[in-house]
């Protein structure tokens, strides 16, 4: 990257693109900040997002750095296995659509916990749901921040601590001043930029092979040294059960990711919530086809000699491919590299902002207002606590990311986030909506068992125990979902049998609200809270 490198290894061109990305997003934040006044504005963008906009934002949440650089990199390193999580993540939207999307919009207000705790005893059920929310957000946030630091370090030459702090500070600006509205629009614009960027790479690739995508795959297989095996599964997930467990974690995890579920509260009504899923799967489907071509294309173009350059998890495969497609070590290559790096940076900023908004809702709306203040906090207090919580969460995440360092194995953090989402949040959410007998004890035991099982089994897995990448932990699988999801459901069931069915509102009410939209939170003007929390309902078992 000859012409644009400073003495210290800081690359000027990527930094220029980063600066452009940041100024656009700060502009959006300024615009959004003038429209963010109420709690509904702060967490649900005033419920004024259209279904197409929301579809782009959901797709944006999904097209994280892990989904772009991570999937392309894993395909570069291990071929087809890298593609399995991508496809599983797309499939996950069908359970979200037919089980959750419109029901969440109808029965909830700002957070996943609204729906879980609706007819249960407020304080214990909400505390459990908030812990599930915060656990997923924390693991995912930490993974993204470490990835951000390592990437910005590699792409632009900034040091890891500076990169982590800079990323967090800009992301906090969106959240604090622009709330969900800014976060959503940053996400939408990033989704468009990412699709254009990846699309351009694919177009360059296709020109190279005279528009025969099969040629990309054949060349990748030849250059991999593995032959046709590179185009089939098994090179990354050696154990068959690892393939299945990881696939299940990604296929059900979405249904428990708080920052994705939260997006269904930002649209006008249930119909718009469903429509946004259709837009999201359209975009994500196109995106993953293109990413698979970028992944295989990077192997075909860069060959085996690049294995050392792309990093341990292959994250630099896509930017290096852009460099090569742009012309290699000349201005064209440097510009393409810088643009793709800038898009990756925008991706990280946007996803991290969404996670922090979800976590701030968990702290302010669930824990502070509903659990501590019995629902009596004013809207201003709630939003203020939400902003403080965002700063607090970001601060903790910075400290943890710096302690972990750039070499930390983030793959297990992402696996952990999806596993907790699928094992702790999803069972409680699903049964709260669909099972009449489900009760508070069931929710608490279910979330606890899903969370504890996921964390424990990950710690005992080969990725962590006794050291990274060691092939012999007490628990043989790299992702515990195949065991921890059943344990989460079992916890819900056993807890329900042990508990008693007292709640503050009836299951009938939740059911009718969820299915028909009667009494759902209106759009635009924040209606008076229809759902008055019950006084004296908060005695924990």
């Amino acid at each position: 990257m000859s012409p644009f490198v400073f003495a210290a290894g800081v690359k000027a061109l990527p930094l220029v693109v980063f600066a452009i990305v940041i100024s656009i997003t700060l502009g959006i934040t300024y615009w959004a900040s003038r429209r963010t006044k109420t709690a509904t504005d702060f967490w649900a963008a005033g419920r004024g997002i259209s279904s197409r906009q929301n579809g782009f934002a959901i797709a944006g949440d999904y097209m994280s750095a892990a989904a772009f650089l991570g999937v392309a990199g894993l395909i570069f390193l291990a071929g087809f296995d890298g593609y399995i999580t991508g496809v599983a993540a797309l499939v996950s939207f069908i359970p979200v659509l037919v089980l959750l999307a419109d029901r969440m919009r109808n029965a909830g207000k700002y957070t996943m916990a609204d729906v879980i705790a609706f007819r249960l005893r407020e304080r214990p059920a909400r505390t459990a749901a908030a812990i599930g929310t915060l656990a997923v957000a924390a693991f995912y946030l930490l993974a993204q921040l470490i990835a951000a630091g390592a990437l910005v370090e590699a792409l632009a030459g900034l040091s890891f601590p500076i990169a982590v702090v800079v990323t967090t500070v800009f992301m906090l600006c969106y959240v604090l001043f622009g709330g969900m509205l800014a976060t959503t629009w940053v996400q939408i614009i990033k989704a468009v930029l990412l699709l254009i960027g990846v699309g351009t790479m694919v177009a360059f690739l296709l020109v190279k092979v005279s528009f025969d995508p099969g040629e990309i795959l054949s060349q990748a297989a030849t250059k991999s040294g593995e032959g046709d095996k590179f185009l089939g599964p098994g090179l990354f997930f050696h154990k068959p059960l690892n393939t299945i467990s990881t696939g299940i974690a990604f296929a059900l995890g979405t249904a428990g990711l708080p920052h994705i579920l939260m997006r269904f509260f930002t649209v006008r009504d249930a119909r718009a919530a469903r429509g946004s899923v259709a837009w999201a799967v359209l975009l994500i489907g196109i995106f993953y086809v293109m990413v698979s071509l970028v992944g295989f294309g990077s192997r075909a173009v860069l060959g085996t000699s690049a294995v050392a350059e792309v990093g341990k998890s292959g994250n630099l495969a896509a930017p290096l491919l852009a460099q090569s497609l742009g012309g290699g070590n000349n201005a064209g290559g440097d510009i393409f590299f810088a643009v793709i790096s800038g898009v990756a940076f925008a991706t990280i900023l946007a996803v991290v902002a969404g996670l922090v908004i979800a976590a701030s809702g968990g702290v302010a709306h669930d824990l502070y207002n509903s659990v501590i203040k019995h629902g009596q906090a004013t809207e201003r207090q709630e939003v203020m606590v939400g902003r403080i919580a965002a700063v607090g969460v970001a601060g903790v995440a910075i400290v943890l990311a710096l302690l972990a360092g750039p070499a930390f194995n983030i793959q297990f953090l992402v696996g952990l986030a999806f596993s907790v989402a699928a094992s702790a949040n999803f069972p409680a959410l699903l049964l709260a909506i669909l099972w009449r007998r489900f009760n508070t004890t069931g929710a608490v035991v279910g979330v606890a068992s899903g969370l504890i099982a996921s964390v424990t089994l990950i710690i005992l897995s080969p990725a962590v125990w006794p050291g990274p990448d060691h092939e012999g932990g007490p628990f043989p699988l790299s992702n515990p979902a195949i065991v921890s999801i059943p344990l989460g459901f079992l916890g819900c069931y056993v807890g329900t049998l042990l508990g008693s069915p007292e709640g503050q509102r009836s299951y009938d009410e939740l059911r009718v609200r969820a299915e028909t939209g009667i009494g759902s939170e209106g759009s635009g003007v924040p209606a008076d809270d229809v759902r008055v929390p019950a006084e004296g309902s908060g005695v924990p078992a």
């Binding site: 037919v98 040629e215 089939g232 119909r271 709640g503 028909t516 759902s520």
Partner: protein, 135 residues
């Protein structure tokens, strides 16, 4: 079906229990369950089959169909239009079948107090009740 805590639901102006037991609402639940289970079944078979083949039939998945396209890659690609079709179909069923049923169930709710079927109707109906129900 007296759920403990129904004190709370009685405090609301809508008789949730009556709507829940109305034939319109039951029909809505049945129709929704049918389409949801069908779609989840298709996903379970198609995606589940893909995962099982990826785990246990790796020799088969490696085979090339044409050009550089392996069985694995073709199957993975086939999941994408499957998801698109299922999403579009579910939304069509929702718009054409489920939403009208939900509206009828809501109208049923609006009728209830007037027709006197509501067990706890003490005549204390705030005027905005109908507004909210028909929203």
């Amino acid at each position: 079906m007296a759920v403990v805590g129904s004190d709370e639901s009685r405090r609301e102006d809508v008789d949730w229990e009556a709507i829940e037991h109305s034939p319109e609402f039951r029909e809505l639940l049945g129709a929704r369950r049918r389409v949801a289970l069908t779609e989840l079944g298709i996903v379970a078979v198609w995606f589940g089959g893909f995962l099982i083949l990826s785990a246990y039939a790796r020799g088969f998945m490696d085979k090339l169909l044409w050009g550089g396209f392996s069985v694995a890659y073709a199957l993975a690609l086939s999941l994408i239009p499957m998801v698109w079709a299922l999403a579009v179909y579910y939304i069509r069923v929702s718009d054409r079948e489920l939403d009208p049923l939900a509206r009828r169930a809501a109208e049923h709710a609006a009728r209830l107090p007037a027709s006197g079927h509501r067990p706890e109707a003490d005549g204390e109906q705030p005027p905005d009740d109908h507004d909210r129900v028909s929203r």
